[in-house]
C-alpha cells in the first residue's frame, strides 16, 4: 500500500469547511513522485521504498543509471512493510490520500542561528530596570566546588532550528488531484519552498487499541453489575 509522498511547502491560508467554519491550512504541492528503488529484507535487511520528487536537469551518469527514465531531484527512503504490488518506476500521486486521513509530516525547521536561552529553551528573562543588568543572560549554571563541574545536558545558548522535525496526527482537509495539491490542517515544519516528507499514520492500530480498551471497560462494567446483583 502507498503511504508515502514527498512535497513542497507552498504556504498557509484559511479555508471554509462544509459547516462554514474557518480552518487554518498548509498548502503542500505533493507529488507526483516516482518509485526509484525497492529495498527488501533479502537484499538489504529491511523493507523500504525509495521515492523521487522534482526535476533535475543535470544528472550525472551514476544517477542516470540509478533513476533510469525519471529525473528526480530529491530522493528519500521510507520504511514500508507491505511493498507488495509496488514496482520501480511507478508513479505516486496525491490521490493516495483522501480528506480525513491522518498524516505525519516531516521537514527541516526554520533556522534561527545562534540563539540565547530565552528563545532556545524558554527561560525567563531578568528585570529590565531597577539597576538590574541581567536582562537576557543565561544565569547560574550550577553550584561551586561541589559538584565542581557543569552537569551534562544543561540548557545553554547555541544553534537553534534547521533540524528535522515531525508533526504527528495532521489531518487532510482537501486533495486537489488536478493541481497535485494537498491541504492539511495546521502547521508544517519549515519555510515556504521546503521539501517535506508525508507519511500516513497507523490510525488503524490506534482504533484497534481503542477497541481493546473499550472491551476491557465493558468487562469491568459487567463485573460491577454482577457484584451489585
Amino acid at each position: 500500500m502507498m503511504d508515502n509522498l514527498l512535497g513542497k511547502k507552498i504556504g498557509m491560508t484559511q479555508i471554509f469547511d462544509e459547516s462554514g467554519n474557518m480552518v487554518p491550512v498548509t498548502v503542500i504541492e505533493a507529488g507526483p513522485c516516482v518509485v526509484t528503488q525497492l529495498k527488501t529484507k533479502e537484499t538489504d535487511g529491511y523493507n523500504a521504498i525509495q521515492v523521487g520528487f522534482g526535476q533535475n536537469k543535470k544528472l550525472n551518469k551514476p544517477m542516470k543509471g540509478h533513476l533510469k527514465e525519471s529525473q528526480a531531484r530529491y530522493l528519500r527512503e521510507f520504511r514500508n512493510e507491505n511493498t507488495g504490488g509496488i514496482q520501480v518506476g511507478q508513479e505516486i500521486k496525491v490521490e493516495i490520500f483522501s480528506p480525513g486521513d491522518m498524516l505525519v509530516i516531516s521537514g527541516i525547521t526554520i533556522g534561527k542561528g545562534f540563539a540565547g536561552n530565552i528563545k532556545r529553551h524558554h527561560h525567563a528573562r531578568g528585570p529590565m530596570s531597577h539597576g538590574s543588568k541581567s536582562h537576557r543572560i543565561t544565569g547560574s549554571i550550577g553550584a561551586g566546588t561541589t559538584p565542581g563541574r557543569v552537569f551534562k545536558g544543561l540548557s545553554m545558548p547555541g544553534r537553534m532550528g534547521a533540524v528535522r522535525a515531525s508533526v504527528k496526527s495532521i489531518k487532510v482537509v482537501r486533495v486537489d488531484a488536478e493541481k497535485n495539491l494537498l491541504l492539511v490542517k495546521g502547521t508544517v515544519p519549515g519555510k515556504k519552498g521546503n521539501l517535506v516528507s508525508i507519511k500516513r499514520t497507523q490510525v488503524a492500530k490506534l482504533v484497534a487499541f481503542d477497541k481493546q480498551t473499550e472491551k476491557k471497560a465493558e468487562k469491568k462494567a459487567d463485573k460491577k453489575a454482577e457484584a451489585k446483583a
Binding site: 507552498i10 504556504g11 498557509m12 491560508t13 484559511q14 479555508i15 471554509f16 462554514g20 474557518m22 498548502v27 504541492e29 493541481k179 495539491l181 491541504l183 515556504k192
Partner: protein
C-alpha cells in the same frame, strides 16, 4: 503570496458583496443553528473596522445593546453570512473607529452622515 494560494483564496470568495466602509451602519444576517434548526440572526451596528485581505477579510460591527457596548466580528466571505444590508453611510476620518468605545450615551452611536 504564491499564485497557488491566491487561486485557493479566490475560489473561497463571494462574488457579490455590497460595498460598505468603516463608519457605515449595516445589518448583517448570519445563519445560526439553534436546537437542530437553522435560522437567520440579524445584527445591526456601526462598522468600526475592516481588516485582512482576500478570503480572510473580516469586519467588526458595534452597537449599544441595553446600555452595554457589543461588538461582533464577521468573516466577510463566510458561507454562514447570508447577506449584508447597508442602512446608512457615515463620514469618518479614521480607518479604525476605536474611539467609539470610550464614548458614552448618544455620542457613542453618532457618526457624521455623509455621501
Amino acid at each position: 503570496m504564491s499564485l497557488i494560494i491566491q487561486e485557493i483564496e479566490k475560489a473561497q470568495m463571494k462574488k457579490e458583496i455590497p460595498q460598505f466602509n468603516v463608519g457605515d451602519t449595516v445589518k448583517v444576517y448570519s445563519k445560526i443553528v439553534e436546537g437542530g434548526k437553522e435560522r437567520l440572526h440579524g445584527f445591526e451596528g456601526i462598522v468600526i473596522k475592516r481588516q485582512g485581505g482576500g478570503s480572510r477579510e473580516t469586519f467588526t460591527a458595534r452597537k449599544i445593546f441595553q446600555g452595554v457596548g457589543v461588538e461582533r466580528t464577521f468573516v466577510l466571505h463566510s458561507p454562514r453570512l447570508e447577506k449584508i444590508e447597508v442602512l446608512r453611510s457615515g463620514k469618518v476620518r479614521r480607518a479604525k473607529l476605536y474611539y467609539l468605545r470610550e464614548r458614552i450615551g448618544s455620542q457613542a452611536t453618532k457618526v457624521e452622515e455623509g455621501v
